[in-house]
Symmetry: C2
Amino acid sequence: MKQGQWVLALAGGVGGAKLAFGLQHLLRRQLVVAVNTADDFEHLGLHISPDLDTVMYTLAGVSNKIQGWGLEGETWSFMDQIGRIGGPSWFKLGDRDLATHVLRTQRLADGASLTSVTRELCASYGVAANILPMTDSLVRTVVGSEDQKIPFQEYFVRLACEPVVETIEFYGAKFASVNEELKRAKPGKPAAIIFCPSNPYLSIDPILSIPGFRDWLKSLGAPLIAVSPIVSGMAIKGPAAKIMRELGYEVSALGVAEHYRGLIDGIVIDSSDGHLQEEIEERGVAVRVENTIMKSDADRIGLAEKCLAFGSSLAAR
Amino acid sequence: MKQGQWVLALAGGVGGAKLAFGLQHLLRRQLVVAVNTADDFEHLGLHISPDLDTVMYTLAGVSNKIQGWGLEGETWSFMDQIGRIGGPSWFKLGDRDLATHVLRTQRLADGASLTSVTRELCASYGVAANILPMTDSLVRTVVGSEDQKIPFQEYFVRLACEPVVETIEFYGAKFASVNEELKRAKPGKPAAIIFCPSNPYLSIDPILSIPGFRDWLKSLGAPLIAVSPIVSGMAIKGPAAKIMRELGYEVSALGVAEHYRGLIDGIVIDSSDGHLQEEIEERGVAVRVENTIMKSDADRIGLAEKCLAFGSSLAAR
């Protein structure tokens, strides 16, 4: 990668944030992360942005690695009290985490955009990379199951992903527009565009559903690489595999490649899925086989390096 | 006191809440407490009602007796985090206490009145007495000092009552109206109306500043008793003595009686102020001399009993 070149990453929550952490280690301020906000919701009068927070906390090095979400050193007095006085306790808000939600909600109420608030919070948390919401418009994921329309956090948290997913809709998406500050974030062509190993249907698709987003990505003229979140037919975390099965798709890295076909130039698949390489390449998608399971910071940085090298090789073709 | 008779108490924060606790012990649901809301403010996007909360927590038996405000068993992770990410940390919000503020703010945003929200919260906390805000209208105390107008919590907390008080105004009071649910709280005549030992200028005056409030109190036809918060020329807690001095009033139980003159029938003063009895009675205000310092629950209940007995004796005259 040349000096001053930047990279655009698309990410949802935990899985995506891990790769973004590795990319940030290599790229610092030259990393731009466009984050899914279709999981955002209003709860207890607070604006909660789960994916933005997961990416921010992970890149700030303050995420709770044991729990997999939220802040390290978290305490739970607020939730305990909410439970005691009969408030809704199905969505867990840690005492420290609340500081983020309360400040964000107040700034939004003051008229600040989610982009501005995200920039302020990232500065406070000491994040080097440029984290941006996919849009400042309101987009909300709604899961359709047995004639019910279930708001995403109800499905994901309250119902623990139990309902069978028949449809996934992104309410408001067609009225949304690509975050202008995202488009202006860096001048020139990125070295690569990387779809982090987030849920293709629930984390990356909402971003791609914004009118003009796909065209903008293509217009950047950079190699577009996906990292498969499906390894050995299973999701590392979350309901991706269950959803793919319920929607009738093949639950494999091949299924992921099929899903992104026409958009991506290459895909990074796990070593355990090496047998799928040929089948994917037959569909016109370049393949890199790597260890994609990120248990340590070294794993995250290692995979980020492989992705950048893959990007360079694709750009050189 | 006859069966079914009720008592109306007016209260601000800590001092008033102590007597209200004693009264509730004796009267349970037959106690109505009208609470000052001119100290309320919006902070971090949350509606904070310090006096309502102090009375509610005290009457629920969950107040922090060591700290003097807030909830017992409180933790401070939220404030710690707010400080870390550069938010305003001058007003301390405990993690447990936040549950109250967040639920209240959400309910108010949903269109509920402060009276309704207070009723809901009191039910959740298991308060027997009927706690009501003095009004559902917005009234805000503003302290004038050296050509500055200082919102109450700025004066009280951020500036630790340091500015010399020249004026005290209750913004919005003239457009406010007495809480209708307070007027309707109980049928018939109360056995007594008791001004709890709260700051006369900052806690009771805002209540009395609401147009029609004094007339309503008088129309109830019950003996009206004040309990002096000034003992031996000092305030038990808070800036009452300092403010009386700065405003040029005599800092004593006599000064308190003078302040309420024309409104109260009697005043309870501390044993240490017995020498003031005659001088106060010369002004047409009946006096009871009692131990008014409430250190234990027994003290609180004892003083409440004395107040009710004083009320009965005044009613019998």
